[in-house]
């Protein structure tokens, strides 16, 4: 097995302080459209440390993927605009960095895995060539050395007969194998932060289990910070250390994983947990959160969740609840968080 560590350029200019890798502070992302301005991310703050797995949980439209894209710097701008906020990597603000410098962070420092591996890989180049590109572009290796590295990586992510298949094209691989190739590319330059955006949503359960096991193994081996973006409460329970729940572009709850499942502190989280059928339960009564998340152009005043909340009272319709500490280390954006947590 090839070790990847040796390719790390000695004395990287980015050194985490106290294990703190990434700080997102009061981030806003807007989409300017003919119908008006939609605020997809509305004042989101969180941190990621070395070796930590943070899950960002939310339904479609909650802004979880936009958050990931903002961190990677791959938002389509326009229509997206980042009016304010900071994304600091090892203390340096990625948003104010010159593009050339930021480009050099993508791959060696922060990298990302996408949901749909088939459309994320280039169909006209062999997979080995695409993995090796990381070494050619960022490390200046020649073609044959880079290809050797690519084979080593393909072996590391358990692609059988890597040496023979290095010249194969993406369509010649199954969905699970393609996702392994994506992972190989993402870890190629030994990044400190790995963002996985719905990495297993398009895969079957048996393959999902393989891929999640591989991701966890790699994370432990390399002490990476992992941001897992997903809507699947089952996957999160298996992998995450900490969870951030998003709703209409805001964080509504953050907590350590056991705490969140045992005693959710926001009615939305509680409702989500009640609405999923569980494999290990029989005769379960499913309860649904009524209605839908609001249109981002017409977010209701007060708490954005109030039209769907069975607990909503007058104050919820007028005052936006801030994300506040309910018990040590637990944050919730609900006026009645204490009541929810004790329910």
């Amino acid at each position: 097995m090839t070790t990847i560590q040796d390719t790390q350029t000695a004395g990287s200019e980015y050194q985490p302080v106290d294990g703190l890798l990434l700080e997102v502070e009061d981030l806003f992302v807007e989409f300017h459209t003919p119908d008006g301005v939609a605020t997809a991310i509305n004042g989101v703050s969180f941190e990621l440390r070395q070796g930590e797995s943070l899950a960002i949980l939310g339904e479609s439209g909650s802004g979880k993927s936009v958050t990931a894209q903002a961190i990677m710097g791959i938002l389509d701008m326009p229509p997206a605009v980042i009016p304010s906020g900071h994304i600091r990597y090892c203390g340096q603000d990625l948003l104010t960095m010159p593009e050339e410098q930021r480009r050099k962070t993508r791959g060696p420092e922060i990298s990302m895995i996408f949901q749909d591996a088939l459309s994320s890989l280039n169909p006209v180049f062999p997979v080995g060539w695409q993995i090796a590109e990381m070494f050619r572009v960022h490390r200046g290796l020649n073609k044959s050395d880079a290809l050797e590295k690519a084979i080593g990586l393909m072996e590391r992510v358990s692609i059988p007969a890597a040496r023979e298949r290095v010249k194969a094209y993406p369509h010649q691989f199954s969905g699970g194998m393609r996702q392994r190739i994506m992972i190989a590319m993402a870890i190629a330059l030994d990044p400190a932060v790995l963002i996985a955006d719905e990495p297993t949503t398009a895969l079957d359960v048996t393959v999902q289990a393989q891929i999640m096991a591989l991701l966890q193994e790699l994370q432990e081996e390399r002490h990476m910070g992992l941001i897992l973006i997903t809507h699947d409460l089952g996957v999160v329970a298996d992998v995450a250390d900490r969870i951030a729940v998003m709703y209409t572009g805001r964080l509504v709850e953050t907590a350590e994983v056991h705490e969140l499942y045992a005693r959710p502190a926001h009615p939305y989280t509680k409702g989500l947990l009640d609405s999923i059928p569980r494999l290990d339960q029989k005769g379960q009564t499913l309860a649904a959160i009524g209605g839908l998340p609001p249109n981002l152009l017409r977010i209701p005043p007060g708490c954005p969740f109030n039209p769907r909340c069975h607990m909503a009272r007058d104050v919820c319709r007028t005052d936006l609840p801030p994300l506040h500490e309910v018990t040590p280390g637990r944050f919730s954006a609900c006026h009645y968080a204490e009541e929810v947590i004790n329910a």
């Binding site: 003919p34 389509d76 999902q208 298996d238 009564t285 607990m311």
Partner: protein, 402 residues
């Protein structure tokens, strides 16, 4: 046990693979390769399996949307595999289908009233012409939608609401059987529960039997009375929900169950994980003998040559159908009986009505943002260029504001 209403007997569907300029048939994709089961009145039969196992083709065969290569579908005592024309149409009245993707299975140019009322055009004797609009409104009400929205178009509804429209169309002719092909897999979790609850309510009220095809084993367990597990076009295991989930005897079922994540972090590392090696083989060239032997940890020489039959095999308590030479019960999921536990109504409700206060403007913007999240949970949203959407607004020449 109630009487058998639909029966599949040794259903086979092979698709030819054609190659070359002469389009010669060089092989067959064996999508469904000998599947038999009975569906009883008013019950739900869940069909689970991974992609490519033939579960959707099976659903289409039951509906006669595909001609079976061989085998029979017997409905209410009549073999309808040979039926055509008027006979086929009469039979279709009793068996209807709900499709997976609520975004493509509704015609965008038709109003909801036309979509739900279309079955009455073909089966004109079900509801007389004058009463159709009223009947459509009743159906909308039944599936929890606002009957006043009868003149709206599909794009004005959300995914969950569209799936309700699909269900209303499915039940319009009072069928006895509804084939549901992945009806909730394109929906967000919080919306999934609404649709599942609605389907259960309709079953109780209308006495429908469901064939519920899905890849999500948790949803299938929740809704099904009996469950069939498919692998590469064959039924690997078939039994009562309890039998399949608490004492599975087929290694594939066991592996599948162990791979499903359970939303409970306290079980982390405590659950038995059977990790299968490799991928599902191609259905064009399925392995000899037992189709699962290439990935099975129990496989012996016998499995490579002799195909195991789906037959009653002991499961520790009784016996149920399993197709493994070495069938042996194994507890994979520790089941907790929670019947009688009522969820806290302060947070979520079991009400099946669609409670959304929908605003008049279509939620196109929401869709646009979802699309720009190229990888949001919904597979139904193909990533789309946002600027193109803006260009499509005729008469609006403002450049996108930056």
């Amino acid at each position: 046990m109630p009487e058998v209403i639909l029966s599949a007997q040794d259903l086979v569907k092979h698709y030819p693979i054609k190659k070359g300029i002469l389009r010669r048939t060089v092989g067959h994709v064996k999508a469904v390769d000998g599947v038999s089961f009975d569906l009883h009145q008013g019950e739900t039969l869940g069909i689970v399996g991974e992609s490519g196992c033939g579960k959707s083709t099976l659903g289409r065969l039951l509906m006669r949307l595909e001609e079976p290569t061989s085998g029979k579908v017997i409905f209410g005592g009549d073999d309808w595999s040979g039926a055509s024309g008027r006979d086929l149409r009469r039979m279709r009245r009793d068996i209807q289908i709900v499709f997976q993707d609520p975004y493509t299975s509704l015609n965008p140019r038709m109003t909801v009233g036309d979509i739900v009322g279309e079955p009455f055009e073909i089966h004109s004797d079900v509801v007389p012409k004058g009463g159709r609009r009223k009947r459509v409104q009743e159906l909308l009400d039944l599936v929890g939608l606002n009957p006043e929205h009868i003149n709206r178009y599909p794009h004005q509804f959300s995914g969950g609401q569209r799936q309700r429209i699909g269900i209303a169309r499915g039940i319009a002719l009072n069928p006895k059987v509804l084939v549901c092909d992945e009806p909730v897999s394109a929906l967000d979790v919080s919306v999934q529960a609404q649709v599942v609850n609605l389907m259960e309510k309709l079953q109780n009220e209308l006495g429908l039997a469901y064939v519920f095809i899905a890849h999500d084993l948790s949803v299938v367990r929740h809704i099904s009375d009996r469950v069939g597990v498919m692998y590469l076009g064959r039924m690997a295991e078939l039994g009562e929900e309890d039998e399949v989930y608490t004492r599975p005897t087929h290694p594939y079922t066991q592996a599948l169950l162990s791979a499903v994540p359970v939303p409970d972090p306290t079980l982390r590392g405590k659950r038995e994980q059977i990790v299968l090696v490799g991928d599902v083989p191609s259905p064009a060239n399925p392995p000899s003998g037992c189709r699962f032997h290439t990935r099975c940890w129990k496989a012996q020489d016998r499995c490579k040559t002799e195909e195991p039959q789906l037959e009653q095999r002991p499961d520790g308590v009784g016996a149920h159908l399993s197709a493994c030479h070495f069938a042996e019960p194994r507890v994979i999921v520790e089941t907790v009986d929670v019947s009688g536990v009522v969820p806290d109504e302060r947070f979520a409700s079991t009400d099946v009505r669609d409670t959304v206060v929908s605003d008049d403007a279509p939620a196109d913007l929401q869709r646009m943002i979802d699309r720009s999240e190229a990888s949001s949970g919904d597979q139904a949203y193909a990533p789309q260029d946002v600027t193109r959407l803006i260009d499509e607004q005729h008469g609006d020449h403002r450049p996108p504001t930056v």
